[in-house]
Symmetry: C2
Subunit: 364 residues, 2 copies
């Protein structure tokens, strides 16, 4: 087991990464000092893992709430049902809410923890690769409104994150690859060596080799933890974690929630961002191509679904959270391993990126 | 104008107290550096004061959302309507939410600010005495569930509080007196001199003398700000602000929201807490009587409405937020100006307090 600290002053918390952690009772009990526990899970992973967790927490007063699976349930109505459940079971301020699931469960359980009696203890046990490398680290919680994703939410740090790599064995292929999109992102934004390692170890990672996976999760969390620690409330630098997400969110939004997985949309978004950066002569064309090649090598789509027009994309940017006073800010790579925030993107070049059928395929 | 600082490290904010502050454009503009503003108000105070506020904020992009008046609208459905409004008007992360109203508006607008795009700037302009001396200071926000008051919410500090004493001139008598209950509370929990001043100045305060009012608000906010600064998230000492509230919340809950005003229930709760403390021989009987006398002198009720049984009160304590692992914790005065947290209240004495018709009327 590797333990990483996310340094946030009095809200500092550990991320434990490794195999078999769900059976390590002493680890779980250290994260839950009180007697009351509410496990929030979903109908898919709940039946697979809840009994192991109950075993490790024997003796505590535990209630389990299971959500239907899927992003379409990440809404205020479902979040409100969690509160009804906590009220009915009389959970008080000393309770601990445990998220056992992927990003949707983590976001919903985290927002419930942030708002139940003005905030209670929260433990994350992510069961997808995406959640292990991304959504369980950094304290973002939220739900979707019809008008957009995560428009309502809170920053609420967990008391600990337990990333058990064994839990990934039951993950469907498509979801697993979707998680790898975020792993690739960390290479692009912060670490050329890691990016090259991802090229060299594609086959190992694609077959979920446990040592390769442990390294990939550890390095991803390290990068994210370092960025989050430097800018907890996303007032500046943390925005680099949104690399690929301005395009990605627009694509996800326009294709209808649930059509594309989040990581798939981010993969396409990273390729579009690489294309735009190359057109701006910020990023060498060869590096833009390398980004597209890696995304493709990990079995992820590299072009947005047909039917999403350039106009629709532009309109959607208008409601994106990264908008400040009317300008759209893009996170763009200046080289692999380094990104910049740019709000001076020439409209003509953005237009080219949105209209080409050959992303990142430049001459020379 | 008097300005008070609530010391909370990077969340430190000023409370400005005085007459005519709504017309002081420079004060308001300093609290709202951005261009987008959402004013949340209600149908009673909105028509009285919104135009003055718009005048002072001329040039900014302002949207106004008015809630129906009353605690019955402090629910998730209304809170969710605020989010729908912010989405429709495209408020981004740089917006500032302004609460123009009493405690309900402040709690709802504050919780909307805490959760809109994971938290935006928040300015409090309280229009009731209760809100000026209590709910606008300290960062508590929340909404009610059918199962209890403020079960859902967040701690979210305003960037400033502007307490304009002129706004109290339109307040109905009963609401004004309800606010005075919290003022009396500050004397009981922290300041014997202030308590004596309240006895000596009952007539002046009851006729809303502006100098007396300014002193009372200032001293109340000072006490509250000092307590909040020492314990922002209510992990310990801040609980003393709940003096009178364990009984008060139960009474409020059982009489149906809206039947009694919050301050009226707290007034009764303070008398019950004084009675219980005297029975425990913690508080001298004469001081318990003095507390009852002051509550009564300010036109507040001193006994709970008929029909609320001792059994119902006990049951309600079970869901109170101050419950830790099954025990009820009471805030009790050991003398006027000093309180203690006690979770060792003998059931027999609590029973006497809940069953007597003569609170605080002891022999000797």
């Amino acid at each position: 087991m590797i333990t990483l600290k996310v340094g946030l002053a009095e809200r500092t918390y550990p991320i434990h990464i490794g195999a078999g952690l769900l059976e390590r009772a002493e680890l779980l009990r250290a994260a839950i000092p009180g007697q009351q526990v509410a496990i929030i899970t979903n109908d898919v992973v709940g039946p697979l893992y809840t009994s192991r967790l109950l075993q490790s927490l024997q003796g505590k007063k535990i209630d389990v709430f299971s959500l239907p699976d899927g992003e379409s349930h990440k809404d205020l109505a479902t979040w409100s049902r969690i509160h009804g459940f906590l009220a009915e079971k009389r959970h008080n301020r000393g309770t601990c809410i445990v998220a056992l699931g992927g990003g949707v469960v983590g976001d919903m359980a985290g927002f419930a923890a942030a708002t139940w009696q003005r905030g209670v203890r929260f433990l994350q046990i992510p069961t997808t690769l995406l959640a292990q490398v991304d959504s369980s680290v950094g304290g973002k919680t939220g739900v979707n409104l019809p008008a957009g994703k995560n428009l309502v939410g809170a920053f609420w740090q967990p008391s600990a994150v337990i990333a058990d790599t064994d839990l990934l064995s039951t993950l469907p292929d498509r979801e697993y690859r979707s998680g790898l999109a975020e792993v690739i992102k960390y290479g692009v934004i912060a670490d050329r060596v890691f990016f090259d390692w991802l090229i060299a170890n594609t086959a190992l990672l694609m077959r979920r080799d446990s040592a390769a996976l442990t390294h990939a999760i550890h390095r991803s969390c390290e990068v994210k933890a370092e960025v989050v620690a430097s800018d907890e409330r996303e007032e500046g630098r943390r925005a680099i974690l949104n690399y690929g997400h301005t395009f990605g969110h627009a694509i996800e939004n326009l294709s209808g929630y649930g059509e594309l997985l989040h990581g798939e949309a981010v993969g396409i978004g990273m390729v579009m961002a690489a294309d735009l950066a190359a057109r701006m002569q910020l990023l060498p064309a060869a590096q833009a191509r390398a980004i597209k090649t890696v995304v493709s090598a990990y079995g992820l789509p590299t072009a947005r679904p047909g039917g999403i027009t350039a106009e629709a994309m532009c309109h959607t940017f208008g409601m994106d959270k990264k908008v400040t006073d009317g300008r759209v800010r893009f996170v763009l790579a200046s080289r692999i391993g380094q990104v910049e925030m740019r709000d001076d993107v020439p409209a003509a070049l953005l237009d080219q990126t949105l209209n080409t059928d050959f992303l990142c395929e430049f001459n020379g």
